[in-house]
Subunit: 133 residues, 4 copies
């Protein structure tokens, strides 16, 4: 995400109850990983390999997750955790399916890497949210 | 969802391993409830009341959930459960926020009802998936 | 769209400048056709036939169009016309590609029909908007 | 977009009829501008100012445009032009509405800048596509 826009968002969040403790660098990394994963999955899904339905699901879930982090006013702790779990699960599945084609397709290999990075970033975000409560 | 398209989807799913036991009427009801909830939340978010961020998050999550059910080839049981949990949590939060305005706004009241219906439909879908395994 | 929610939306729109002349039944038909087309295209794209990229594009465009009609406060006449043209063009292309498989796949056949219906509904919406200005 | 994924996409596109002449740096810049604009508009829409409906429409249109460029197999020249026109029109409107609040809100100011950058990138993409035909 653009760094100046991120600064604005951070300032807004500091004024939300319970959000002043959020590590904004963890959140920014998570939004960026979701965005990169949506893009990788979208490209991967056009290959018409059998991972395509998982890639399409993962692209949608990552976009929804990214946007939700940009609208933290509309997410409480319970909702945030459940959405992160869903995003982690979807990335795990997409990564597993794409890894099976990693030898055949460099796009699948990179998609699997983007899914792994997104999973890791979502887990870091969960840890960060748990440390706050 | 269009009933003829639903029949096609059902036929496809019957040939997927583990999916032949799925109660398609439960799934159709869940897709329709997600679609209705996305629409209600989208309208509600234009009111610029403080429920708007939750409504936008809920609209995105419901659309992602609906599409994922149309691409069951790309969801395993664990992913499906996690996504349904996320959708239930998001609908719960949006319903709670809109209910606080139900006396002031008929749109909020209807949005809360659409969220409740979507939560119930997602829970029925979870029960149906659990009965299969 | 749910008829009670539609009534609320209509009432809101009557109070927007220039929107009091809008034929709400034309607009409702267009939103419903966009929603049906998004669903048909989403199912069709999971078949992994060569129409899939067009189907995915069409599903996204139809969802964007549907939501934009639910947020008419955020669309002026020029924007509305350009978005309807884009939706019509995308539906046309998806219909053409799916029609080539209509003999092989009933899903493609129904997807093409949903695209045709969405094109027609978008053209009726354009005519309705032009009559207003 | 990730540069290695972009390289893969470029290689794929070189093999599509009529696409071998596409200037991939123009296309990459356009996808990146759409992504940045979706993010800026999503943040801006949570401010609950009167630009919010336009911001939400613009976020959806930019995401649809970005994804469509990642699935060029599913866009012909006519569809691409119509979608770019719709994206330009939506960005123009959102920029105009946010500029009216630029003195009051730094987020609106940055959102307007992101819209302007996206408009310019879409126009460059149109020029690039026209030069090909």
């Amino acid at each position: 995400m653009d760094s100046m826009m991120m600064d604005m968002m951070s300032k807004d969040m500091k004024s939300m109850p319970g959000m002043d403790m959020m590590d904004m660098s963890v959140m920014q990394a998570c939004m960026d990983a979701c965005s990169a994963c949506e893009q990788a999955c979208t490209v991967c899904s056009t290959q018409m390999m059998d991972c395509a339905p998982a890639c399409m699901n993962c692209a949608d879930m990552c976009n929804t997750m990214m946007r939700a982090m940009m609208r933290m006013q509309g997410m409480n702790a319970a909702t945030g955790m459940a959405m992160l779990d869903a995003c982690i699960a979807m990335c795990q599945q997409c990564m597993d399916e794409c890894m099976e084609h990693a030898d055949m397709s460099d796009v699948c290999k990179m998609c699997a890497q983007a899914c792994k990075a997104c999973m890791d970033a979502c887990m870091a975000m969960k840890n960060s949210m748990m440390a706050m409560s």
